[in-house]
Every structure is written in C-alpha cells, then in structure tokens.
Symmetry: C2
C-alpha cells in the first residue's frame, strides 16, 4: 500500500453568524459565502451558526455542483446551527447534544436555546474513512468573570469523549468549529491532550492570514471592538484539528484565514474569519503507525485543572439550586397563608372586609408566579448539579484508570 | 490464538422499579436484590430504575466484594436510573441522552423527568474489550393508542446509531435493559437488524424461567394486571442482546428469568422479572470472522416501517406546535386589548369605572399565565418537530446509502 498517491483535501470552516432578524446583512453574506465556496471548490465545508434552514437550503442549492452531499444537524429550539457540505458521499451522521449549555433565563445570551451540539459525519474518500466533526461551544461573553466556564469545560469533555468513543475505527479524524476557547485555555488543552488531535495552525508548513491565526479581529466591521480590547491583534477561537489513525499520516500543507472584508466587497463574510486548510493524507502501510500519545503526567495535570473548574461550577450550581428552592418554598408559604386568610374571612372569623380584594388577588397571583418560576429554576439547577457531578465523577474515574493503567490512552 | 479457553460471563439485568416514595417496599427489595447478586456472583450487573442515589450507594456497599467496580449514570432531573456493577475494571463511560422522551406536562407518566438515556461502559476482561450498554426506553402505557410510539422509535434509532458508532473497535457488544418493546415491535426489529445484535432468549441453548421469556407477568404481585389483560402469559420487554466483533464468537449457554416471588420471601425483586444470561466468549483467531449482516431488503423494509412511525409523530407534533402557538397568540391579543382598554380608561376616554377592577386584573393574570404556558409548549413542540424531522432525514439518508452502497452495513 505504501507509495499510494497522497490525498489532498481542502477544508473550509466558518462560524457564519447567520441569525435571522439579528445578524447584519445576513442574506448578502450567505450569498458571498456561497460564491466563495463555489469558486474555490473545497472538498469539505464545516459551517456553524447557520440558524435558518432557508439559508442552509440556499447554500445547498448553490453548492449542488461542487459539494453535492450535505447534512444539516437539527437540535434545540432553533437548531444546532451546524451543517456540513462535502464533495464525497456522507455515509452516516450522528448528533450529540451537550448536556449543559448555559441558562434559559439568560435571554440576552441565548446559547441555551441553540441546543449546542457536536455533529459527526462519516465520509469515505478514496477508501479512507474520515470521521468529520463539526461543533460550536458556549460563547464566553466576559473573560474576566466567565460564568459559563464550567459549562464549556463540560462541553469540551463531552466532545473529547464523543470523539474518542466514535472515532476508533476511523482512518482520519477531523474537527472543525468555533470552540470559543483561546489556544491555551484549559478546555482546548484537555481536548487536544486526550484525543491526540493536532492544531492545523501550529502544525502547518505555510500560513497566510490574520496575525497569530486570529479569527475574531478588530479589523472586522461586525466584531464588537470593546470585547477585543485586551487583545489588540484579536483572538483565535475557530479551529481545524486533525489526527491520523493507525496506518495513515496527515500533514497540514497550508492554512489560511480570511482577513476581514471579502474580496471585491465592502463587508466580511461573518463576524468571524474563515479557516481554510489544505491537508495531505497518506497511507503509511504500517499498521501501528500511531503517533505517540501525550505523556501521562501532562494528561493528569490538564484533567485535574479541568476537574477544578467543574467543581467550581458545581458549587455555584448548588448555591443556585438552594436559592431557587428556598424562593419556591417562601412563595408556597405565602400562598398557603393567603388561602388560610381567605378561608378565615369566608368562614366569618374576621369582621367586615379584612383586606382589599384587588391587592389580595394580585399578591396571590404574584406568589403563584414566583412559585412556578422558582420551581422551574430549581428543576433546572438540579439537572445542572447532576450533570456537573456526573462529569466530575467521569473525570475522577479517568484519572484513576490513568494512574492504574498508564498505557491505556 | 485459536484454542484460547472460552470466557464464561454471567450477566444480570433488571428494571428495579425503585422510585422513592412511590414504589412499594422499595428498600426491602433493594436489599433482596443485593443479597441475590452477592450470592450468585455475577460478572456484570445492569440495572435500570435505580432512581435514588442512596439505593445505588447501598448496592455499591453490598456488592463491594463481588462487583467492586460500578458506575451510576446521571441525567435529567432525577437521574437516568441506570447503573452498572462489574467484577472487572470499568475503563471508560459515556452517556447519550435521547433527544425525545415524552412530554413534561404528562406528569402522571413522568418519563420526561427521567432523562432517559443509554449508558456505555468499556470493560476489558482478560484482554477482550467489551462495550456494555444499559438503557431504558419510554414506557408504553396504552398499546392500542400509543402516543409515545414515535418517541420510542426515535429512541431505538438513536440507540442503534450510538451503538454502531461507538462499538466499532469493541470485541464484544452487550446490551441490557428495559426496551419497553415486545419482541416483534418495529423498534426492536430495527435495533437488531441494523446492529446485528442477537437476542439471548432466542439464541440460548437452555432456558429456564417464565413462559416465552416474559419479564412482566401476571403472577408478579406488583404488576398492574389490567395492563396485561390482552397477554395472559405476560410480555417480554427486558432483554439481553449481544454481538461478537471480528475474531470472536459469543454464544448464550443459558438464560434464566426470575418467576415472581423471590426465593424465601413473599415479594418479588421488582415489578419486572430479572434476566440472567451465561455467555461463552471465544476467540476464533480469524480476523474477518464477522457474522453475515442482515439482507438489504430486510433492512430497507424495517427502516421504512420505522420512518412511517416517525412521520406520524411528526404530523402530531406539528399539530400541537400549531395549537400551542395559536393559543399563545390569542392570549397575547387579549393582553394587548386589556392594556389598550386600561390606557383608555386612564386617559379618561371612558366615563366612570368601565369594568370591575378585580375581574379585570384576574383576567389579565389569566391571560398572562396562558401566554407563558402556551409559549413554553410551543417551544417544546418546536424542539419535538426538529428532532423528529432530523431522525426522519437520517433515516432517509440511511436508506439512500443502503440502496447505493448495499455492502456498507
């Protein structure tokens, strides 16, 4: 098998920022993205934040010639926003929805409603089995006081577990997406260490694009510059990661990012920059040609760090569960008191009309509203506590296995 | 490698019916289950409906000697109820929560709150990699008019997809659980056809237990006999299924079920009967010793049938989404009308007091309550529609791939 011609694969990844009614110049940008994809003829296109199925259909119609195979991953109220276009037939797909994804009452952030997930497409290219993953993790919003960090770490853990369990028979693993993590953040180190995935930006022979490979840059007219203030060059949160299975090698020959405005127009494709990689895949013919796995101490260190973040989240979730439970109880008590007072008045225990009817009714409705809301919140935070506990336990088990059987990973 | 001694594995599976405050003589039964497991020394114990973590901890303490390794799968408000005990170290776990699982407003059924899932534990026994799955699908309640059938079919589809994608490197696949499906139901045929899993009851050399292998029997004092009326012998809805990977064979030497009352007591272990299998696992040494897969026409037929059920569910979900949306809109209109009337009254357009304040306020609160509830329902049914659509599309893609590449499965 050795000496097989190398397979050259061009991959495109972009967070399209295509939120109906909210994203600026959405339809125009979707058209531009479609045009670019048609011109350049990528083999694989991994998109995020394509929230409108109409946009997906438009892209599908436009890319029918160059990428005739596609899949739109559905989840949550408004979908997962994830889709894949491919030049080669998609044989199978699977969606895994992250168990934690922010809070439904944080309407201004809205991540909860998106059903953030990881989508898997199995694609056979010239007899090589590619497991292609596309994902989008919870956004950061405030780096100094990042309330969503534990949720994002849980998502990174679930992502790596999903990849590890589903990619065992794959010849090549490819992950593209907006991970909402800087290259040195704990979640991405965890993901890379535990899966062996390599970062196209650090591995590439030739890079062209924004400085430091940034994908959220101040030059882009759609980015909120105040958020980027501590990072004058921008930040890198969109990635193409890859790994070769046994008997294969993968190299990144070239990596590019877009640099703000799309050529020939006055607007960028999105508020993120696209990442475009040219990968060379080669059979080595050596069955055990697996790259050496990360050293055990490094695995233990990053996992311990991640576990600490999950524990911090667990404490916060427990506090919120307690507060909402107490609030529900107080509202229930108030309702019971009112019921007793009303019954007392009906039974003629009080003389005349003891309290104004309107205020009494308003108060009862208010108490009922608070009861319902607080009960809902309590249920929500109970689930949150369960999932954080579950992840913490899985991490503890992984640490135990690692220390007992260091050769496993 | 041929001629390796066969591995003999004893597997226990039971839906424990251990719902706090609701299940009769729960703690007593959990003690009995623990005693039986200790006496018999099973290698693998797969339990469902262990909703209380205290019960799990009690079992864990009791089984410390014979099954020192265990895992409790957490999900939903009150957990997944799933746990695994093992004589051999559990190396890794993963939980996949089904995307559809009944309705939150069906409080009397309560399945929605359980976060029904499939749990995977990877266990290495004498160098053989076992992927052990434990699951519990949505209950049936009414066979004649089964409103949950589309959800259960989606769960069966997600279960088989999860198994197919995660079990590719496993030497032996084992699934135990309460599938809430009769042996000829579409969901179980779909699961078996598409994964190649074999039913221990039909494959066993020696069977001992309830007639027809039933696991919900009229003889059990905890079962609701009216539900079993059309089935005088009972029904078989709890299964142990298995499959050998390349280079292995698995045979079921013996299968047993409990038969109502536990020995030496006056009560059964649960409202379900336990299923106990003795499996023989042998290396064949032939790398390609895979059993022939199901014929393509059979795969197509069962998948088409399942797809029809999903479509029926999709229609119903769309109707409910429409009704709840309309209700929310009406409530909003009423609120707006009231607001206009109130503003009119404030501005002095009406003379005197146009309507009694109390009724007016009550009506406004009622409208607000209906608006919130109907909006919540609308969001819920929107998710339901998305997930049913997604499954329908995945099934369509699978049919397409099957017809184009019949050799793939």
């Amino acid at each position: 098998m050795e000496g097989d011609p190398a397979l050259r694969l061009r991959v495109f990844d972009l967070n399209c920022w295509a939120i109906r009614y909210l994203s600026k110049r959405r339809q125009e940008r979707i058209r531009l993205i479609g045009d670019r994809l048609c011109q350049e003829g990528f083999d694989l296109v991994l998109l995020q934040e394509v929230w409108s199925e109409q946009d997906y259909s438009d892209l599908k119609a436009k890319l029918g010639g160059c990428c005739p195979y596609s899949h739109y991953f559905r989840s949550g109220v408004i979908g997962s926003g994830l889709c894949i276009f491919s030049k080669f037939p998609i044989l199978d797909t699977l969606l895994y929805q992250y168990s934690l994804n922010g809070y439904p009452y944080m309407l201004q952030h809205g991540d909860w409603f998106c059903g953030k997930s990881v989508g898997l497409a199995v694609i056979n290219i010239s007899g090589i089995v590619f497991n292609v993953y596309v994902t989008h993790l919870h956004a950061e919003y405030c780096r100094e006081k990042d309330a969503y960090l534990p949720h994002r770490v849980v998502q990174a853990w679930e992502l790596l577990q999903f990849i590890r369990h589903t990619a065992k028979a794959a010849d090549v693993v490819l992950l593209g997406g907006d991970l909402n993590m800087h290259p040195q953040d704990v979640g991405i180190r965890l993901l890379r260490c535990w899966t062996g995935l390599r970062d196209a930006f650090t591995e590439t022979k030739h890079f062209e694009g924004c400085e430091d490979g940034c994908t959220l840059i101040p030059n882009n007219c759609f980015t909120v510059n105040s958020e980027l203030q501590p990072f004058p060059l921008g930040i890198r949160i969109d990635y193409i990661l890859y790994k070769a299975g046994s008997g294969f090698t993968v190299r990144c020959e070239e990596l590019q990012t877009t640099t703000g405005t799309a050529p020939g127009t006055d607007i960028p494709y999105s508020d993120h920059e696209a990442v475009m990689a040219t990968l060379h895949v080669q059979r080595t013919g050596q069955a055990a040609g697996v790259t050496p796995s990360t050293a055990v101490p490094a695995l233990v260190e990053v996992l311990s760090e991640a576990r600490t973040e999950v524990r911090v989240g667990l404490q916060a979730a427990r506090r919120q569960r307690y507060s909402s439970g107490r609030m529900a109880l107080l509202a229930l008590l108030l309702l019971l008191l009112q019921a007793a007072a009303a019954l007392g008045a009906l039974a003629g225990l009080a003389e005349g009309q003891p309290f104004p009817k309107l205020s009494f009714a308003l108060l009862a409705f208010l108490a009922l509203g608070v009861l319902l809301l607080a009960t809902g919140l309590h249920l929500f935070h109970t689930i949150e506590v369960k999932m954080l506990q579950g992840t913490e336990e899985q991490m503890r088990m992984a640490l135990g296995v690692l220390q007992e059987h260091p050769g496993r990973s």
